[in-house]
């Protein structure tokens, strides 16, 4: 018997005439890394957008941690429940230092969605500063604590965003193509990182085009094509599934 962290039930979403998601049902189990793969425009990001409160679906529910329906909740409420997301295009605070970038999510986690204390001194926040430094060290960027985040390379921005999510220790972490648009050596660095954080027991949904990454980190894989889930299973099952090979992988050898 396993716990379900996120239960997506009968979710539909259309943009004009385009059915981006049709009747999606998905259970994400605690402690697992669940990969969602599928061709461009399949609806993968749209599905995550529904989960974090960026989009409201036309119908369906998304329940988190066995209880609350997150549909209709605002993004900060969903995050406060313990759901963090790395976006497909990096969303960081470009004008702030790396340390600040990571400290802010930590404050939100500790202080809640709004915290009216004007005169706390930043220099007294040794615990969170320490924590932020450690997280940045774990993604290999502790040599850049005071660098302004906007000046980072694309790969580093993604790793920074990952650190911003990790410091919150979310119940569920959503990763939207963490290696997209990266140079080869950057990708390898990120894969190493993903493997490392696989060990921490945090539940994750990862969207990824790089099959090498998917098969090395995922416990479960779901395949999305034209807004519908056409297969779900362990990496081995997906590898051997003829429908998947046909629809998505174009018969290529896995």
């Amino acid at each position: 018997m396993t716990d379900t962290v996120l239960r997506i039930s009968n979710v539909n979403k259309a943009f004009g005439g385009l059915q981006a998601l049709s009747d999606i049902n998905l259970n994400i189990e605690k402690g697992k890394v669940h990969a969602i793969i599928g061709p461009n425009g399949a609806g993968k990001s749209t599905l995550l957008n529904v989960c974090v409160g960026l989009l409201t679906p036309d119908s369906g529910t998304v329940t988190f941690n066995g209880g609350t329906n997150v549909i209709g909740k605002s993004p900060h409420e969903i995050n406060q429940m313990g759901l963090a997301r790395v976006f497909q295009t990096p969303e960081i605070f470009p004008d702030l230092s790396l340390l600040d970038n990571v400290m802010i999510p930590a404050f939100a986690k500790r202080d809640g969605a709004f915290h009216f204390k004007l005169f706390q001194s930043l220099s007294g926040e040794t615990k969170i500063t320490q924590e932020a430094t450690e997280i940045l060290a774990s993604v290999g960027m502790d040599d850049k604590l005071n660098v302004i985040a906007g000046s980072l390379s694309r790969g580093d921005k993604r790793r920074l965003e990952l650190a911003m999510c990790l410091i919150q220790r979310p119940h569920l972490l959503l990763l939207d193509e963490p290696t997209a648009g990266m140079a080869r050596h950057d990708t390898n660095k990120t894969i190493e990182l993903l493997k490392k954080i696989k060990e921490d027991g945090m539940t994750k949904i990862i969207i990824e085009h790089d099959m090498h990454v998917v098969f090395s980190v995922a416990d479960t894989i779901s395949v999305l094509a034209q807004g519908a889930i056409i297969a779900s299973g362990t990496p081995d099952e997906i590898r051997g599934n003829p429908v998947v090979q046909e629809a998505y992988l174009g018969g290529a050898e896995l």
């Binding site: 974090v52 993004p75 900060h76 995050n79 702030l96 939100a108 009216f116 706390q120 930043l122 919150q168």
Partner: protein
């Protein structure tokens, strides 16, 4: 050694910062003397508008939300203070507290509505509110504002508290702080102390997690929401604080000259504080004060320079040279000080979008680089 000193200056503790700041403000009559700016009226303006700009910077500098209507709070603060003088007492303390409170309440209402939008729509909403208040002051609100004449002290004002303790003296009373007159230099020193307090509050906000969150909202509000912060209450709080600072400044204008008029709320006054902030450096601790200094100096000193002063200044030149110089320079001084301000502003926006503070930090960086080079060449010699 040099580096340590630099680091020390960079990471000034709260105490050293505020002590240095207080020393700088309180000695203004001394160091402003050589440039002819040492007279109480102007000194008072420097510090009062300093409070206005420091508060405005908490909103615009930290969150990036550009309000076009902050002069409303300046006006509200003045009216509230004068009413406190009329109804209660000539002591400035209740007036200041009352004005700050009232402007905070009005800022809460305006902020609550305006913060529903961001960017240009936010700016337009604040401008609309400001114009509304400005026009109401001449119509519906005349019982409160006394319309075109402006709100003034009168002989037969109730002044409940004052009249309870002593019989009214003949003539119009004047404002005081427990016996300390608010005219001339003592008025300046009183306002200066208020500025120091206001600056201290702003500095604490700048150096708190709260201030850091405001900067994060400016940098990427989207990210802020998806990492669990409800940005709206943060923004409204910043709006209210800056409104209260403006109300405080408005009250001090009435403290030093107990009279309030609606022209204080005109959109040009809102524009002025934006100019001051940008000129000095948006989002920096000292920049807005620098902007206030420059604009108020131009407005009050530069505007008094006339042709005869210029002729004297250029009298070392031969007659034809003097004539040329006077005719070239005269459009920029006296009535033409706006031209100087405009040109200065354009130069800043184009070359130093971070304001004069950016210029200073560039110079400092260059100096530091030169220093490092010096040290290196020194050590290779050894």
């Amino acid at each position: 050694m040099m580096k340590q000193l630099m680091n020390l200056l960079k990471k000034q503790s709260d105490l050293t910062t505020i002590l240095m700041f207080a020393a700088g403000v309180l000695t203004m009559p001394i160091w402003l003397d050589p440039i002819g700016a040492n007279y109480p009226d102007l000194l008072q303006k420097f510090v009062i508008f300093g409070i206005f700009a420091v508060g405005y910077n908490i909103l615009f500098g930290l969150t990036g939300y550009l309000s076009f209507g902050h002069a409303v709070f300046l006006g509200v603060g003045s009216y509230a203070a004068v009413w406190s003088f009329k109804l209660l007492t000539m002591n400035v303390l209740p007036a200041i507290l009352f004005a700050t409170l009232i402007s905070g309440l009005i800022a809460a209402a305006i902020g609550f509505v305006s913060m529903r939008r961001s960017g240009i729509y936010f700016s337009i909403l604040t401008l609309a509110f400001a114009q509304m208040f400005y026009n109401l002051a001449y119509s519906v609100l005349i019982p409160i504002t006394n319309g075109e004449t402006g709100l003034q002290l009168r002989m037969h004002d109730p002044r409940i508290i004052d009249n309870y303790f002593s019989d009214p003296l003949p003539g119009l009373p004047s404002t005081d702080f427990f016996g300390m007159s608010m005219n001339g230099y003592s008025g300046f020193y009183f306002c200066a102390v208020v500025l120091i307090l206001a600056f201290y509050i702003a500095m604490k906000i700048f150096r708190s997690p709260f201030g850091m969150k405001l900067k994060a909202i400016k940098s990427n509000q989207h990210r802020m929401r998806y990492t669990g912060s409800d940005t709206r209450p943060y923004l409204i709080t910043a709006f209210i604080i800056s409104g209260m600072f403006a109300g405080l400044a408005g009250a001090l204008l009435a403290v030093t000259d107990p009279l309030a008029g609606a022209e204080r709320m005109q959109w040009t006054a809102s524009g002025e504080v934006i100019l001051m902030t940008i000129l000095g450096g948006v989002g920096t601790l000292y920049g807005p004060l620098l902007g206030v200094g420059i604009i108020k100096y131009l407005e009050n000193i530069f505007s008094t320079i006339n042709e005869s002063v210029l002729q004297q200044f250029f009298s070392f030149l031969p007659q034809w040279g003097e004539n040329i110089m006077v005719s070239v320079v005269s459009p920029f001084v006296g009535e033409g000080w706006h031209l100087t301000l405009g040109v200065l502003f354009m130069i800043i926006i184009i070359f130093l979008p971070g304001g004069l503070m950016e210029g200073f930090s560039r110079i400092q960086k260059r100096y530091r680089k030169a220093k490092i080079k010096d040290n290196q060449s020194d050590s290779t010699k050894e």
